[in-house]
Subunit: 134 residues, 2 copies
Amino acid sequence: MREKTERIVREWGDACDAEISIAVLGGAWKPSILSLLGEHDVLRFGELSRLLDEPTARVLTRQLRELEDDGLLTRTVYRQVPPKVEYRLSDLGRGSMPLVDALTSWGAGYAAHQRRELARLDPEPEGLDAVVAH
Amino acid sequence: MREKTERIVREWGDACDAEISIAVLGGAWKPSILSLLGEHDVLRFGELSRLLDEPTARVLTRQLRELEDDGLLTRTVYRQVPPKVEYRLSDLGRGSMPLVDALTSWGAGYAAHQRRELARLDPEPEGLDAVVAH
DNA sequence: GTAGATAGTGACCGAATGGATACCATGACG
DNA sequence: CGTCATGGTATCCATTCGGTCACTATCTAC
């Protein structure tokens, strides 16, 4: 477990269990990483990087390490050259998939709602720009 | 909408809808605030403060303003002295309750799992300390 | 001998965030 | 006149976090 997560798990009571979820899942790329591993079962570092929008190695590594420390995924290193490292979901990680899906669909609904609001309040004559995935 | 939320809603694509949810719900006290308003229907500033663990007024105000800006709750000011301000969920806020509940129950399960792990790896002879709510 | 592929690490930076402390405006009440 | 209650604001600080840039180790293939 990450030190941060451990502190939360040890010290916080039931009043804020939701914040535990957010502490664990709430990092840049983390929900996307979990979704991808839910779909692909096993992915190498480079594959993950390409499927996401190529975050810098530094950032991706940090996210993966945190998810590993928090027990959501496993990292398998093959001692060979060039290196090969595989990531896959742990049981805990698989258990988080329904929540990740819930986050995704509520977020999508929220974004759609707010985009309608924006269009209503602030109509742009230009056509919609292509929406670029993060 | 908060500027931050608007940027996310405008610029991010569907790849990371989950991160929209986290941007909106992921602040200190926010899930707790939403839960309390789900239970109590309407709460004044001071009542909220007492039901939570008395965060500083500065912090609570900021969380409430952000939730209001993001459209999850409404703020009603009665122009009287001493001041009276009521907070309640908006439709958007009510719609977030299932997600908040999902966050809470996954977080609780995760914490329980990890506490078992901690106890297994690092058995403390002392009795359990009372767990203090955040 | 040098280029390429893979999976990183280390040092650093700017912005955002939680939180502490001090202060404020108003009217009722005694 | 002074005090209390309510719902804040202003200022500041330390930490965290995403991100950039430079750098590395090792073997294979040319």
